[in-house]
Symmetry: D2
Subunit: 283 residues, 4 copies
Amino acid sequence: MSASMGTNSYGKDGIRLVLVRREPRRHELRDLTVGIRLAGDFDRVHTEGDNSAVLPTDTMRSTVYALAQEHLTGCIEDFGVAVARRLLSVTPAASTARVELVEHRWTRSSVAGALHAHAFESGSAERATASVTVDRGGQVDVHSGLDGLSLLKTTDSAFSGFLRDELTVLPETEDRILATEVAADWAHLPGHTPAYDVERAAARRALVETFASHRSRSVQHTLHAMGAALLAACPDAAEVHLRLPNKHHVAVDLQAVGLTNDRAVFVATDRPYGVIEGTVTRG
Amino acid sequence: MSASMGTNSYGKDGIRLVLVRREPRRHELRDLTVGIRLAGDFDRVHTEGDNSAVLPTDTMRSTVYALAQEHLTGCIEDFGVAVARRLLSVTPAASTARVELVEHRWTRSSVAGALHAHAFESGSAERATASVTVDRGGQVDVHSGLDGLSLLKTTDSAFSGFLRDELTVLPETEDRILATEVAADWAHLPGHTPAYDVERAAARRALVETFASHRSRSVQHTLHAMGAALLAACPDAAEVHLRLPNKHHVAVDLQAVGLTNDRAVFVATDRPYGVIEGTVTRG
Amino acid sequence: MSASMGTNSYGKDGIRLVLVRREPRRHELRDLTVGIRLAGDFDRVHTEGDNSAVLPTDTMRSTVYALAQEHLTGCIEDFGVAVARRLLSVTPAASTARVELVEHRWTRSSVAGALHAHAFESGSAERATASVTVDRGGQVDVHSGLDGLSLLKTTDSAFSGFLRDELTVLPETEDRILATEVAADWAHLPGHTPAYDVERAAARRALVETFASHRSRSVQHTLHAMGAALLAACPDAAEVHLRLPNKHHVAVDLQAVGLTNDRAVFVATDRPYGVIEGTVTRG
Amino acid sequence: MSASMGTNSYGKDGIRLVLVRREPRRHELRDLTVGIRLAGDFDRVHTEGDNSAVLPTDTMRSTVYALAQEHLTGCIEDFGVAVARRLLSVTPAASTARVELVEHRWTRSSVAGALHAHAFESGSAERATASVTVDRGGQVDVHSGLDGLSLLKTTDSAFSGFLRDELTVLPETEDRILATEVAADWAHLPGHTPAYDVERAAARRALVETFASHRSRSVQHTLHAMGAALLAACPDAAEVHLRLPNKHHVAVDLQAVGLTNDRAVFVATDRPYGVIEGTVTRG
């Protein structure tokens, strides 16, 4: 029996990069986790054990570190493009290079009311994300995003009028807690290269404000509203993919112990959880 | 600006099911985590907040539990088909139902040398997996798999003759530790419905034995050999996707402290790690 | 052979409580994870299987939910005291009840520049913590704390002049990155019952500002300074235990690839990591 | 205000060691995670920033690697003693050195029915553990243990006759699933130095067999029986500490959907969970 290679790729994940820029008056701090993937014609690597076309994943790691000082001066998207181009240029067999970037948030500490020159604090799970793909023809595809943003509203969320079968026991509700952890990823219109950080701030604001203000009939309903708001706020975005787990909060039955519970006491549950995902596009 | 829905789906993840079958002479134990996704025409749910087409994800959960006694009598693949068919039948708007199944491994405990009737032990991260998709036309697509299988060999693994650029510092090696955690997922030939558990055992054996015996020139090289062996051992499998992280083991430099280290003492590193993935197909 | 019980305790962990207070103008949100432990004379439970002295852990869970509306009106410490007293009062065999509380941080979302009445956002790993123990004599012991607070400074941290043996290869440094994730826990002077939330804010400020301003000779040196500052800022605290993992940042060697790296490019490493812990006391 | 140091210690966690012994006929593999703590008179390190007494934690790491070839030839306890003694000998300020060891389990792969010379497989969360403390007077205290061992029985477990208050809603049961993940840690009688690996195998067997065979009235009841059995099987053990989380399995209410569920279909829940821990001693 013969066996041949279908789609394949290889790379390095979990490259941790911290970059310090020591400006005269204060230090700037960047904290990234980077992943790399190359795809192309690597058939003989697999079938023959011929490594002559393979740039080691260790070199991908070195490339991220080597390019940081010169190219990580602005947004992660631009750094991703530089890394991807470099990897393509030194790997003839690769037809595409993809760079996945995650930026961890630090804020400058305050001391006696003033922002400190070189001390930072964090503790946040919210992260800026980007995915950059460059192909042999020079085509650049940039996705921007964010994840780890937890949102919760205590009212203005209903779920009723849904389809029922004989296994459906869920009661309808006009007033529940709605909670999620947003993962958003948006593609850009051909040829559009916005200031990605400015765009991300506008995107985040649209997501948060829409979640807060929307009178939700379902997570799907809110997803569409959030996606539409993001597209309105980000004119260079072509479409946005949202993944919104439904982090269920169940009102505790206190009647059994002689107490009332008018939407006050809830259990935050981990599993199972609803998963709602979809892409919102223009037009 | 108008915004419309692109691809979307919804469902439930993390449905934990334990099923006990109390046979006269001994109890049988099954332990699954199940995920569900429905996709189809749910546009008005998103854009209008009209829930009339939406089967609640809570009902998906109930469906898994309600069908377990009757349908989880054999392999997880068959149970997945039953759940998917049921969900499609009660949700007219859905065009496809997908069921993701993970089975956690328990082994029967021994007491005084004999297998016990109702006590089990575990501690294993290795799991059987399956993904079943059924569409409105009755088409059934079954993927089988396994994950969490850690493999390590202490020799017969080289990585040399690779591409170098000026950022490449990795030394060539003819003898390194090769370690990975296998995630395998195979599709079936049209119309083929093997005994999935028998097939999975054959697949596992092929993966383990090939990893052990293969003289590896690279992870890619081993990936192809493992995939080819799996296809040879599983005549109903059409192709197999393998994801093989390269869990690097770095020889410790003991020269600095006056000791030799001839491939004896290694650091097992977590991050960064190589990621090699690909699909091996017939022909 | 006879075997008897030594120290033992039992309880419930991972009790997730979300409490919403629906004030006329805006909603207040609390989000806690609670753990309970009872200890006392439970010997016959263990040796005889006599459960008559055992309050079920399910009742501990119910108690947390039942008391929330009336008693979770202020700081978590006061809620912990109420829960502990209740559990002691209904469990004659228990000599002490301990309640461990963790509060997850949410901040009110802004919409169009104004704080929203019922929408919140998070993503923070930083948490307020407390441990309350009440004994049969009515003695109340309250520990307050916080954890998940990541701090990093890019200079003003040295590590030199340390002990060396023939296995020591670490170079001395006068300027390194210092990074940690603070876990702090402070006990109170007998009879002192401060406003625990006000105290926690003062404690946090002392920790953050001291970390930022201190010219560190070692993590131990900074630990002492942080602890002393906390005690100075919190007059009701008797002593503070600090756990400060040393999250190593290693400068990347770029010489091998022909580049300089003057304390700019670092790898943030996960493992192994230093662990420094100690208690700072008054006087 | 003056502040002084109370109890303190420092060390290194997460030291990952893989050791390969290349015997002529087959390779032996060891896979450990090691943690170190030194305690003693380190006051001036904290208060003055005087590092002259501090052996760097980086050297602790080096020590683990440097001693592995010579001293990791048998059980992890003996290796721990060697590491602890070495660290004490080179650190005059330390009064005690503690070494925590965890061994990850690998099993030799089979190929064509024969055990392979150099290929291994894993996927197990069960681990052998040990904690070794050596003091300046040469006193050696060895604890042995294991963790990550999941046990489940489908019958012979009751929980009834317990204490009730007005918040107690839990129904009594004479037949439930009992599931736990064992963490066991046993101390040794003064002067006793058994073959620790042989002892651990006997301990494990006692734990597993007792869990299986015991007619459980509560987790506490089973904990005592397991502890007593371990002490009977391990004559050199002085006492054993057991931590047995109660991993609740809740029978699904299928009546609401018109089905019966006679102890067949269960939800395995994550949180909250019961925690039962205690020490069983001789006599």
